[in-house]
């Protein structure tokens, strides 16, 4: 990275993204307006009821998450973040004169990640529905 960050280039490369974003934001509402214009209307109380295999729905569907989900979510977030550290290193691994020390450090890092993984496995944190 000779010129450290080329802001101009980065912004240019995101202009198409912005254009598509606008279109993507507009498209579903437009479609739905079209649908509103084209589709028939008929009111019936049963139609607006939540579907529950045909029977009258009972209770609220918005139950609390099972705690296991949080455990998984935490594990996921941590591993995902650890992968994050691999990206910058990965791009310069080849052909950028990376020092051996950096490679060794990354191996140590991966080893520690692996260590955490073994720990989770052994603690049965990754077991669905204990």
């Amino acid at each position: 990275m000779s010129e450290i960050i080329d802001m101009g280039n980065i912004i240019y490369s995101y202009i198409p993204v912005a254009i598509i974003l606008v279109v993507a934001l507009l498209m579903p509402p437009l479609t739905m307006f079209l649908v509103k214009a084209l589709s028939p209307r008929s009111k019936s109380a049963a139609k607006y009821q939540t579907y529950e295999a045909g029977s009258v729905p009972t209770g609220d569907a918005r139950i609390q998450f099972n705690v296991e989900y949080y455990l998984y979510a935490i594990a996921f977030v941590l591993f995902d973040i650890e992968v994050l550290f691999l990206y910058p290193w990965a791009t310069i691994f080849k052909g950028h004169g990376i020092t051996q020390l950096a490679t060794v450090e990354m191996l140590v890092f991966i080893f520690v990640v692996l260590f955490g993984y073994v720990y989770l496995l052994k603690k049965e944190a990754l077991k669905w529905m204990k």
Partner: protein, 100 residues
């Protein structure tokens, strides 16, 4: 180019929202989210400054702080889960045994 003051302004606004949320909310999860907001406003600052100072340190720093924020969230969730298991609520006002 967008002037750096705008980034700072945005970061300050986000930070203030986070701080306000932290002060006013009593649900553990919401307080946690407020803190994350504050950390992210700092990240925004770091990245913006990094680009304006033409120095990569800020970006690397942001990377680290993202990771730390994740760890913090993990610990926070763990604590809140333990609290929930005991009290069936994450409203922190229900925790007031320790008073003098």
């Amino acid at each position: 180019m967008i002037p750096v003051e705008l980034y700072i302004g945005l970061a300050v606004i986000i930070f203030t929202i986070g701080l306000y949320g932290f002060m006013t909310q009593r649900s553990g999860i919401r307080m946690l989210m407020s803190v994350e907001l504050m950390l992210n406003s700092a990240n925004l600052n770091l990245v913006a400054f990094s680009s304006y100072n033409a120095d990569l340190t800020g970006q690397v720093f942001a990377l680290y702080s993202i990771a730390l924020a994740a760890c913090e969230a993990a610990i926070g969730f763990a604590i809140l889960m333990a609290i929930f298991r005991m009290k069936d609520t994450i409203n922190l006002d229900s925790f007031n045994v320790l008073r003098w």
